[in-house]
Symmetry: D2
């Protein structure tokens, strides 16, 4: 299968290249970068030595890219995918967008939170949280790949919301992310000497993954869900941990909570249930497409606390994108995604 | 002033030594360690070279220790302070206990959470969260120094609870701690290769700092406060960040929240208010006795989110202990505690 | 191919399991651990969830282990392999020992540096630095897998020594290793709070990899090579960087140095030459079987400086062991070893 | 004493501010920053909250700065000090330059290595490696503060060179530095996700601290010293470790080596000798002005290996600058420099 990547030198692009190198059906035909057009990918990322020998081209060649490809991954900043997607689908090719442009059913929500006009409102994109929307993904032509915080949060909360076990106005997601989530762009906050041995919250009440989580949970709830979402920056490279709080509805038992998770995820390869009392750790998922989930019922307060962990660059980005590609093209969903977590 | 430390080789003991070395009134007369009795403190901690040249003695010499000292700091595991405190106070000397043994007014709460019988129920200890209980601290003979998570959480929430601005059954504290909080004892979880690049929650619903936070907040509230407290282990050495959530009572304005913090803390040197919208970062407090606080009002959900940051070994342990000592002995409260945070 | 691992719960054992999970010909039949006999490998290493479901057995079952296996990997502390190897080879099965017991042609060198009697002097083991001894590896029944520092140092220096370009009494190897090289055993030195943000040398003049490097280089030199080898502990998990110094013989040109490296390694997949002026970085090899090499000629001092980088747990241990297995069993040498470095 | 700092927002400037806050004689009167003129230092470095409340001014006000100060610290990139120094000394005030502009007795060496014309050749600056040149420092008007690598290397090697114990053409310094040494400027190499878990050498044969080390050692040797100096970037914030190799002259005993160090440094407070067989660790010096030194005699190879450790921002920059200030103004040399290392 012929694959191209628009925006191959950002961290998400790098991860797509890393994962696709082990995908037996994948052939990477074009990779683009507007800043480093003409460079060999090895000069940008020397760890690809003896693996990739490919020259970066420009989005100006997008027609050629689309013609030569079966599917194009877009790993660009939000606001930049819409024109590209029109061109690629115009050539009859499928697109997987790893940014936010196609994640919202209601494009006015996108416009409000991202401050960018949406120019492709009739796109009919499918939201690709694979485990929850697999049937739709199979037929997707434009696939909106979810955000990293979003994937961790929605996977943790959906069984509770769908089964009506929690008060939907009581949900709080306290999320923690490794620094790679901020991407490759330079910034004082991510300068080594200032980022290490440090810890802080940011964007309280205003992070753009909030409405994305609310949209998905609302789809499974009987009412509109509004949540608190607080992201934190953790001094490590990879990993997201979402600690999710909700008030159990009166009379809901711990066993009902257990059943909700087991019945929802037991047959999913990429979801590893650690059970009630289980403690996911980001390290156990590092470099892999797994999402680990554990939950706790606190009788003193009547709350359920769900903790989920995943690798923000894999299940939270490039891995899930490849998982969606596998589904879209009728391949075994696990193809190229069986890399063992790099615990050490 | 003559000072001794029981349990000088743990991390809390080490920090006491570090801080007291810069305290102009302090003279360290005895330091004890049961594992390393007879060793020079320099052989245990070579960074004290050219600073301390002192031999570790044993608790078996506690009578001598007490006689030679004006105050004894106890930095032992919980359950080990009670006998020592009786001996020391029997010599008419003051004690500052950095463990949990004297933190609970109701000793049955201690016995329930710590699974140890309390053998000194009539101790009349004072709970030393200095900014909140300064008047009592002045007259303390037995000072119970608060826990690290506790200090961060109580300082963050007290202005809201005291002013009746939040629903006291809605409080959730999602706390994150550097690994030094777990002490010097060896454990697979804190082995470098497994602790770095990792993140997890632990003791959900069961951490022993929970009832300590509840006790202090209940004192300022009009009713019994029951909270959710979730600790997390962060791959860094020092620092605690507490992200605290509570539902604002109907009609409470953002300005009322601001006023509560400013009126409560504006004259406190060790509390730095970053204001509404402020983001504390643990790095800004590292090695110092500061606690930084910022708060956020989320109108979408009606919640207030307070974030506090401090150094778990300083304001969360040894620094606050010295602050309490200064108050107990009528010295300037800042003495020996003006070390600038080691940002880098 | 049926494979067993003696000592599967140490870091080297864990890496063998990680790598073999992606090896299309490998089937892991037995794994042993004397401390955790009877436990599921998932309870020891939860990151193997959904990948391995295997119970740890004991070395007491070694006869069964040997009978059921085509090859047995031994990942035990030095001194423990010799009895096991005799048993396994007694069953006509091949052995790959990742420890030091079979690395020395002259067993008295082993006995001198390791302070253990050698009880299997007629073993006829092959030293498995694959790129240098491939022909012998093909026919090995007992394969002595090299040490991590050793692999980095020997690969860096062999082209110079073999071509007679440097004074063999002038060689200094200043090596730096991530902390995983010290294994899973608990020790104050590797306790997170003490290992992070720290840097030190250790075992100067006495590290056991010294005679191993000298043995291999001497084989390629016209005389006995004696070197200085200084290991350092670096606050990171994976990676070795060896900075090697030698005096160029009079008249040797920079181009001769270049030729020595290119002619020696140009066709090797796992050796990536970065050329004269190139700077290997451990991150570029992380999780992979690559060794990256760059070199520098300093005309001011007449010295050549060679820098090599590799992952101590892969090319420096488990990866090279699998590479040797592939060669020993006539498989493509790259099988199961094409994992892309985890740069992030 | 009135002190100003030109370039107060770089890491060296920040450290000067940190140290001077605890210096009982110091009053900081002006701080400058060309990028952030007009800002409060607290908005640049919030950890200075409740400590400094000062507005950054510009070098355009240098006349006022000089008039108001007894001494001016210059913490600017090389090439920028010379004009400023002329202005400040023109006002009769002393200067301590933390950059390279005044470090070379032979300004043509500066011009060759730094590629900048030297415009102040008759400056009569004193090279401020305090322990070695204390008498000259007392009378300095322009003080050239040494580099970080330089201080570690020169302190390690001087006793050997001065006593003629080693072959001066055999010296190799393999040095390792924390990332703060690269300063606050943004660069992909120091981006958290790329700098952590990484290790590499750089500037082999060409680092500008090379001629500075050679100049100082040559002063103590009977001949011109030419060395190899290899710097490495270590994934930690603070600390330099220099591993120095030299061939002992025939007949030199280990005891002579011991004597050289002890007689040279035994009365120095900031030099802590760990003795023969001692292993300095950067963590033991963190945040302090100490330099720890240990040495090893390898009889197999006839070499001596000296290891020194210090904090690159303190003894390697701001701390030594304050030490020099103390000497220049006749104060106790330890004033303001007794901060205990922050081991944790």
């Amino acid at each position: 299968m012929k694959i191209s990547i628009c925006g191959a030198t950002g961290y998400t692009g790098e991860e797509l290249l890393r994962i696709l190198a082990s995908h037996p059906q994948a052939e990477v035909v074009h990779i683009t970068s507007e800043n480093q057009t003409g460079a060999d990918i090895n000069s940008v990322y020397p760890h690809f030595g003896h693996i990739y020998h490919q020259t970066l081209t420009s989005m100006e060649q997008l027609d050629v890219v689309a013609k030569d490809s079966d599917v194009v991954f877009i790993a660009l900043p939000h606001g930049h995918a819409m024109d590209a997607v029109k061109t690629i689908t115009g050539h009859g090719k499928k697109v997987i967008d790893l940014g936010a442009d196609y994640r919202f059913a209601d494009t006015s929500v996108y416009e409000k939170w991202y401050k960018v006009p949406h120019t492709h409102k009739d796109a009919n994109a499918v939201y690709g949280l694979t485990e929850l929307f697999r049937e739709k993904v199979k037929h997707a032509k434009i696939l909106a790949n979810p955000g990293c915080y979003t994937t961790a949060s929605i996977l943790a909360l959906t069984p509770l919301v769908k089964n009506g076990l929690v008060a939907t106005d009581s949900i709080i997601v306290d999320a923690k992310s490794g620094i790679s989530g901020a991407g490759r762009g330079l910034n004082q906050t991510y300068h080594y000497a200032e980022a290490t041995e440090n810890l802080k919250a940011y964007n309280i009440g205003g992070h753009r993954h909030t409405p994305e989580i609310e949209q998905a949970l609302s789809e499974f709830a009987s009412n509109e869900v509004v949540i608190n979402f607080t992201p934190h920056l953790i001094p490590m490279v990879r990993g997201i941990l979402a600690t999710c709080y909700a008030n159990l509805k009166p009379g809901v038992s711990a066993e009902q909570v257990d059943d909700a998770f087991v019945s929802h995820y037991d047959s999913e390869y990429f979801i590893r249930l650690l059970g009630r009392g289980g403690y996911p750790a980001t390290k156990n998922t590092r470099g892999s497409n797994f999402c680990d989930i554990g939950w706790h019922v606190d009788k003193r307060t009547g709350r359920v606390i769900v903790v989920s962990a995943l690798d923000n660059l894999v299940k939270g980005a490039a891995g899930q994108a490849v998982q969606n590609m596998n589904v879209m093209f009728g391949m075994d969903e696990l193809t190229g995604l069986t890399q063992v977590p790099l615990y050490l």
